[in-house]
């Protein structure tokens, strides 16, 4: 018989894996979520616009990139650790670092010429104007 070290968290992880297997697309209880950086994003709308707000505290404006292509909005960037880690004695590290890229298919057509982005207090605010709905063209087809 071998002795196995008791690791309560390991046990939980195993449980999570079993749940994943059981439910397939069960919303992931992700154990290593904190290890990779993943900005939180809110998308809201009003009659005319779609607003995308990304929480990117501590990232300089220069390190962010927004691309709108074929109604797919991609936000990418990199969050760098402030300074060198050396001779810093960490007591707590809850904030994640690294590069990220997130893409969203927008729910309605937007006008790619009417997009504006602002960066304030660590939130990237993108406003996209909805494209005017295409008026369905009626066409009578003549029966010959």
């Amino acid at each position: 018989m071998t002795l196995v070290r008791f690791e309560p968290l390991k046990e939980l992880e195993g449980f999570n894996n079993r749940m994943q297997k059981l439910f397939g697309d069960f919303p992931a209880i992700n154990f290593d979520m904190n290890l990779t950086y993943h900005p939180k994003i809110d998308i809201s709308e009003d009659e005319k616009n779609i607003f995308v707000d990304a929480e990117v505290p501590g990232i300089a404006k220069e390190n962010l990139k927004i691309v709108l292509e074929d109604n797919v909005l991609t936000i990418s960037g990199e969050k760098k650790q402030e300074e060198e880690k050396k001779d810093k004695n960490f007591h707590r590290t809850e904030r994640a670092y690294g590069s990220f890229s997130r893409s969203f298919t927008l729910p309605v057509e937007v006008d790619s010429n009417k997009v504006s982005a602002a960066f304030e207090n660590g939130i990237l605010k993108i406003a996209l104007e909805k494209a005017a709905p295409k008026t369905a063209k009626e066409k009578n087809i003549e029966i010959k």
């Binding site: 939180k40 990117v56 505290p57 501590g58 960490f90 939130i123």
Partner: protein
């Protein structure tokens, strides 16, 4: 009849006092990093969306309290398609040791990131004693 006035007072949202906000709106703990250098403890907290007027730092009974007030009403009233961020004020309390000189604490807000410098007392810093 002053008491009555208090009873029918209409709460204007958005201009709630700090204390009321803690009570009525939800609060979340911001993620923090804490590290130590030879002279200071440094604390960094992620509080996106706030500028320095929205953040309050208090030292009381040996604890450091950070509180950030968001525009709660405005956030709640949006028509969300996707909402990943937790809507709530930021609140977190830390016990600080008496090795921190609480008269010289400095804080600054930058890009939604709060940096607090907690200097150590002179007496706890390593001192080299010269041999004569």
């Amino acid at each position: 009849m002053d008491d009555n006035k208090e009873l029918v007072k209409v709460e204007e949202n958005g201009s709630q006092s700090w204390e009321k906000s803690i009570g009525n709106e939800c609060c979340y703990a911001p993620a923090v990093n804490i590290y130590e250098t030879a002279d200071d403890y440094m604390l960094t907290a992620d509080m996106p969306g706030l500028n320095k007027e929205d953040v309050k730092i208090n030292i009381e009974d040996g604890s450091l309290v950070i509180f950030g007030k968001i525009k709660f009403k405005e956030m709640m009233d949006k028509r969300y398609i996707l909402n990943e961020s937790a809507i709530g004020n930021y609140y977190r309390k830390f016990n600080i040791s008496d090795s921190i000189d609480d008269t010289r604490i400095e804080a600054k807000m930058e890009n939604g990131q709060l940096n607090i410098r907690l200097p150590k007392h002179e007496r706890v810093k390593p001192k080299i004693i010269e041999i004569k």
